[in-house]
């Protein structure tokens, strides 16, 4: 067993999940099964291999250019209300479960 019930609780905390007792038990089982399976990656020596975070680091950009130059096309002028006009407040609030018409409302955060 790589993952204990205590670790599942810790990770659930990090992920803002509560999980029922039954879900926790199942999660211990499932995570161990999946992590056991991914263990095979350790058969590979990757000490000299660079990590790849995303595809567009390498493709779809002008390869004759370097560094930030390569992604020059992705930048835009730093102007107020440039490309993205923001939504009016009522539209931005329309999907919220709770608002006062001006702000999103949430349970009290600060105790005094």
């Amino acid at each position: 067993m790589k993952v204990t019930e205590k670790e599942v609780s810790h990770v659930a905390d990090l992920a803002n999940l509560e999980l029922s007792a039954e879900e926790r038990n199942r999660m211990v089982r499932d995570l161990n099964s999946i992590l056991g399976y991914v263990e095979s990656l350790n058969e590979l020596d990757t000490s000299e291999v660079a990590p790849m975070a995303q595809v567009s680091d390498r493709y779809g950009v002008d390869e004759s250019k370097e560094g930030s130059e390569r992604f020059a096309y992705a930048s835009r002028d730093d102007v107020r209300e440039g490309l993205r006009k923001s939504f009016p407040r009522d539209v931005a609030l329309a999907n919220a479960p709770d608002t006062d018409g001006t702000f999103f409302e949430v349970p009290k955060v600060i105790e005094r």
Binding site: I34, S40, E43, V49, Y59, R76, F104, P107
Partner: protein
Amino acid sequence: MNLTGLTIDSARSAIAERKTSATALAESFFAKIASDDPKIGAYLMLSQERALAKAAAIDRVAEKGEPLPPLAGVPVGIKDVLVTKGLRTTAGSKILGNYVPPYDSMAVVRLEAAGAVVLGKLNCDEFAMGSSNENSAFHPVHNPRDLTRVPGGSSGGSAAAVAADMAVATLGSDTGGSIRQPASFCGVVGLKPTYGRVSRYGLIAFASSLDHVGCFSKTVKDTAIMLRTIAGRDPMDSTSADVPVPDYAAEIDRPIQGLKVGIAKEYFGEGLESETRGAIEAAIQKLASLGCDIVDVSLPHTKYAIPAYYLVATAEASSNLARFDGVRYGFRAKGGGSLSEMYRRTRDQGFGSEVKRRIMLGTYALSAGYYDAYYLKAQRVRTLLTRDFEEAFKKVDVIVGPTSPTPAFKLGEKVDDPLAMYLADIYTVTANLAGIPGISIPVGANQDRLPVGMQIFGKHFAEGMILRVANAYEKAA
């Protein structure tokens, strides 16, 4: 004329020649959906008002005899992970059960600008996490070819709608095979383009470095038309590539004699069901008879693709899904307590079990003490998997193989075994890690008349090449 059986081309010309109208076409699709979808479950939401308004606008253009745009009056469906302005978008999740987006995703904008008529939103696995469509929070989708079987996933509704004549073409998303595998299970054409080919603006994120927007249709030519419509640079998605978009439909009829078709032995190993193998080998023979050179290639790291994929995908998902907290949109759990308790209850009640499992796995892989061993390791293996393709494509123009190791499985067959479900993606995930384009086309059926799909991979931005090979096969079959 069987209106719901039309392709993009035939639908558009029927409207242009006034043999039918866009309105009649849309209405016949809504009638078909009303009669057949109750047993299939492909649609989560219909958009009659929006569709009929769009169809009426197309009909006014047609009546004046003015030129029609490329998708004029073509009824399409949209996977419910792509946001649609004013039209509920759930990502198949209870946590977005009442979400009405204030904007349209770029792929939808481009389809409608080209004249397409949006019929509604299509069922899928919750947040596109699944290979059977059984993870939808609303209801599963049944495979139109055999209602006791899954349509594949996560874009199960998108594949089933095309297979059952409930849309001419549909949009889907593919993070680890979610377009190609359901296309194969339902016997339709499904394309995952190159990463960056189609804007992800308005796609509800699962794993941003692996998510792709793509399409389903009945023919390769229709897929070529769909791709040209939705592809291209979009300033709203900084990862969309600034690469010119060719007229794919004009390229697909070019001859394929002399093209080098790679076969990777790693895609024909243990686990490949024998009838599927037979159908794929026959299709390869067909390509040889059309003048292609069949060349052996090796993709030696293939067996590490699923483990690398599930670490990278879940790590990114755990970060992307942190935004669902019951504050700005979506569901919020009832009851008192602190802000942090509200977050937890909301996410506990709002997410389904597979989504929670992946958030947990991803959070674990990113957590202190495990980051290097899991997440970083998987990213290094991603480099190796990508290099495999780069090496192979030095020798060949395309690589072909099975899309899935088996045809469509039974509903309920794998729901209790997440690992078995993940293995359904064994031939598809690597293309997402490497960002290369892949298409699945139907290549016959097994004894139970279940469709088998063949996958064709190409180099980055070589969609024209894989469509050409797919089209040549389709014409000859």
